[in-house]
């Protein structure tokens, strides 16, 4: 197996480790740093370094090495932690991320940036702990990885140098025990070990085969090399002569450089580490499944989203086939075909369970989204001279993966807005009788088939008068009698900004309209609640998934349509007295003191043979994009879950229709877009009124859409 096969695993793990590192760095209490947390940060850096060394990612390894040494001092309490130091660490973390990206794209990382960050770290080391850090290139652990890593030629040169430099300084006698390793692999392993140092002897049987090795390589690195051939459980390494420390440490190399690699493992196995089994210390560079076995943590596998989608599609097909069978079977006599009917019921239940299970694979917790904001908030607050505390709630709320990715941009925008325009600077807050530290809350919760994501700040709130004044200026049609909700909606108008001055954070007025459009594109909507002086809440309502929809099937004429259940409020049989004709051919329906416009599906969608007598029809009260109206249909068929199929893959956008689905009998039914249907109906009425020669729906729809 080629070592490059492990690259992707390493990149993904390293990315996770960096994310962990950032999270811990942000959480850390500067006054009383939690030892566990410092250890975790250190371990992350260490694991990345190990992996980078194994794969020959030189720059990455050197950078992590410097960082690791500093972190080591910090966790031993030899170096104070201050905000600016944490900032430097965060900066280094960003740099590591850049380097990782570079390696991922098979480029060399930016050399200038590397030199700069090394200088910064060296500087920090000089100031804080009063010593130079040795460059990682001469670190002994570099040597061990060279044989397996097949690194580029130039690193090979340096490693051979290192062997020469390193071996006299820190050689130790190790006993490597191989448990239950076959003859063939044993030979291979001894050969591998021979490249790491001098094999002084080997003996034993298959159950326990011991190799005595004189080497300058640390145990971690031996493990890292060996684990490509054997399971970590099969490996035990201990000092052959009970040497706890290295007696002849060279004066120019600080002692911690030899102890470093082993120390995290030591801290885990308490104080008598004569026998070390591989713990969590050398996790990098190994397939995830192995790691899970070793660490005993929750096991998981990485699968590409394409594969999951393919399974979801197949399961969708299965459900459709199952419904088809169901329909055929339901016509059979229950007495003579009892067994078949029972089987069908079972199949139905299993198919639904399977569908649910498969859909849940796509779900990821909101933590995936929220976890990127602590850093953003910290940096922005610093830039804006504000003090902000970020609170997240409902991180475990699950959402479809494709939606979490698309929600990040709009949410980032809202967070920036809240920080820039919402939360005031500390002095203003104090003057207003509020705590100096502003509070920004991100919350997520399920509500029916939707997820509610809220961005809540306790800042100044929206200024109604200023919004109105600004709207006048920008030539929008507004009146002072508009309701608050309508005024808040103004900020979604394109090019609208109330910021007194444009900052690099926000205020250019591009954004909120994009936010709204993005969210609508995901089938959701945005609501704003604001109270002057008390803060603003922006609420995003999204469907949990785009692949499956709870629908209500309706019949008009001989055609079947699906209404998204989330848009249906109620349905009723309209009585003559509740229907009022308006000017033209408009009709309104009175429902509990509320007058709702009426849209007949057969008119909007030209269905022939539909019931035209109003009293024969059924009115379904629907709501979409804040508009509520009554939809006239012939019949309600029932509720069902449908698999959403895109119409635009092979066709185009159809007015009044959001997508299509396949019914139990294999035919296609259109899923109605409630908001668009209303626009369509108005456009058609408009077109009919002046008796125009030709009706161009497209143009009319365009005109209809533009103001919204």
């Amino acid at each position: 197996m080629d070592i490059t096969d492990f690259y992707d695993t390493f990149f993904e793990e390293a990315e996770e480790l960096l994310a962990d590192m950032e999270r811990h760095l942000l959480e850390i209490d500067l006054e009383e740093p939690d030892a566990e947390q410092l250890n975790a940060i250190f371990r992350a850096a260490h694991s990345i370094k190990g992996g980078a060394g194994t794969f020959g990612f030189d720059v990455l390894q050197k950078t992590t090495h410097l960082l690791e040494n500093l972190l080591d001092h910090a966790r031993r309490g030899e170096m104070p932690l201050r905000r600016d130091i944490v900032d430097t660490f965060l900066e280094t973390k960003d740099m590591l991320h850049d380097q990782l990206d570079a390696y991922r794209n098979q480029e060399e990382p930016d050399q200038a940036a590397f030199t700069r960050i090394c200088q910064t770290l060296q500087q920090l080391a000089r100031e804080e702990i009063g010593q130079e850090l040795e460059a990682a290139a001469s670190a002994p652990e570099d040597t061990g990885n060279a044989p397996t890593a097949t690194p580029p030629a130039h690193t090979a040169d340096t490693t051979t140098d290192n062997v020469a430099v390193a071996s006299p300084t820190s050689e130790q006698l190790l006993a490597v025990a191989l448990l239950n390793v076959g003859e063939k692999d044993r030979g291979l392993l001894v050969e591998e070990l021979g490249q790491l140092g001098t094999v002084q002897g080997h003996h034993g049987d298959e159950e326990c085969y011991e190799v005595t090795l004189l080497t300058g390589v640390s145990r971690d690195d031996i493990e890292a090399v060996m684990c490509f051939i054997v399971e970590p459980e099969q490996l035990q390494i201990r000092h052959a002569e009970n040497e706890e420390s290295v007696p002849e440490a060279s004066p120019q190399a600080p002692p911690q450089s030899e102890k470093d690699p082993a120390s995290p493992a030591k801290s885990e196995t308490a104080t008598s580490p004569a026998l070390l089994t591989t713990g969590g210390a050398s996790e990098s560079g190994r397939p995830k499944a192995k790691k899970a076995k070793a660490g005993g943590e929750s096991s998981s596998i990485r699968v590409s989203v394409d594969k999951v989608d393919q399974i979801i599609n197949l399961v969708g097909e299965l459900i459709i086939t199952q419904s088809m069978l169901d329909q055929t079977v339901s016509e059979l006599d229950g007495v003579t075909h009892g067994g078949l009917l029972n089987g069908m019921n079972l199949l139905q239940r299993n198919a639904r369970d399977l569908q649910e299970a498969v859909m849940s694979v796509r779900m990821v917790p909101m933590d995936y989204v929220f976890s990127r904001y602590p850093r953003l908030v910290r940096d922005l607050a610093g830039k804006l001279d504000k003090e902000v505390e970020l609170v997240t709630e409902g991180e475990s709320t699950e959402l479809d993966k494709s939606l979490t990715e698309r929600i990040i941009d709009p949410l980032t925008h809202l967070v920036r807005n809240s920080l820039d325009h919402g939360i005031e600077d500390p002095d203003t807050r104090e003057a207003a009788g509020k705590p100096r530290i502003g509070r920004l809350t991100l919350s997520a919760q399920h509500q029916g088939g939707n997820i509610l994501i809220e961005v809540i700040d306790d800042g100044a709130g929206l200024d109604r008068d200023r919004l109105l004044a600004k709207a006048h200026e920008s030539g929008l049609s507004v009146s002072d009698s508009m309701s608050d909700d309508e005024v808040w909606q103004l900020i979604f108008a394109p090019g609208f900004s109330t910021a007194k001055q444009v900052s690099d954070v926000s205020g250019r007025g591009v954004g909120m309209d994009v936010v709204k459009r993005n969210i609508q594109g995901m089938g959701g909507h945005v609501e704003i609640m604001s109270r002057r002086g008390q803060g603003t809440t922006t609420r995003i309502v999204l469907p949990l998934t785009l692949a499956i929809l709870d629908g209500m099937s309706i019949k008009v004429g001989s055609e079947v349509f699906i209404l998204p259940l989330s848009t249906v409020l109620e349905s009723l049989q309209p009585s003559r007295e509740d229907l009022y004709a308006m000017a033209g051919d408009d009709v309104v329906l009175k429902v509990r003191d509320e007058y709702l416009p009426v849209v007949a599906v057969h008119e909007a969608l030209d269905v022939k043979g539909a019931k035209t007598q109003l009293k024969e029809t059924i009115a379904v009260i629907v709501q979409g994009e804040g508009r509520r109206y009554a939809l006239l249909v012939d019949d309600l068929i029932g509720q069902q879950q449908v698999v959403v199929k895109n119409l635009e893959t092979n066709y185009r956008k159809v007015p009044g229709v959001s997508a299509a689905t396949i019914l139990g009998d294999g035919s296609v039914a259109l899923i109605l877009d409630i908001a668009d249907l209303h626009r369509l109906s108005r456009a058609k009425k408009e077109a009919r009124r002046p008796q125009r020669a030709s009706i161009d729906y497209e143009t009319l729809l365009q005109q209809e859409r533009e103001p919204s």
């Binding site: 097909e317 635009e648 893959t649 092979n650 066709y651 159809v654 294999g666 035919s667 296609v668 259109l670």
Partner: protein, 165 residues
Amino acid sequence: MTSLSQHADYATSEAQNREFLVFSLGEEEYAIDILKVQEIRGYENVTRIANAPEFIKGVTNLRGIIVPIVDLRIKFHLDKVEYGGQTVVIVVNVGERVVGIVVDGVSDVMTLTPEQIKPAPEFGVTLSSDFLSGLGSLEDRMLVLVDIDKLLTSEEMALVDRSSN
């Protein structure tokens, strides 16, 4: 050497021969490049789409894929448009898309040499010569060779969003 070059000549002329699927619309015979054809199936279970041009009959379910169905007979203003057991849908691949076209019947697959393909004359209001790749002459038959790619992605077919193209 000579045999080799002859062989090469033969190979190139072979390569220039093209295979066409011949179908009928009313009395006329049309043909499209066989490589564009995915499958041929009966006309059934088409869901109407509102506010679409008349020749777009709707969409159908092709093994889980939603495929629009275009009736070329209506598009070409044929007098008689009937749907019966003989009515056939040719499923074609146009770019990334899958589209079904309704025709009166499919007859055979013909191989045409470059000499048999004549340029299409400027004619026709209903079928612009832009959408023709030529006329195929076969003894007493004349095949109208349709450039199905151009035809189905054209704006007048209204199958593709203007904005997305």
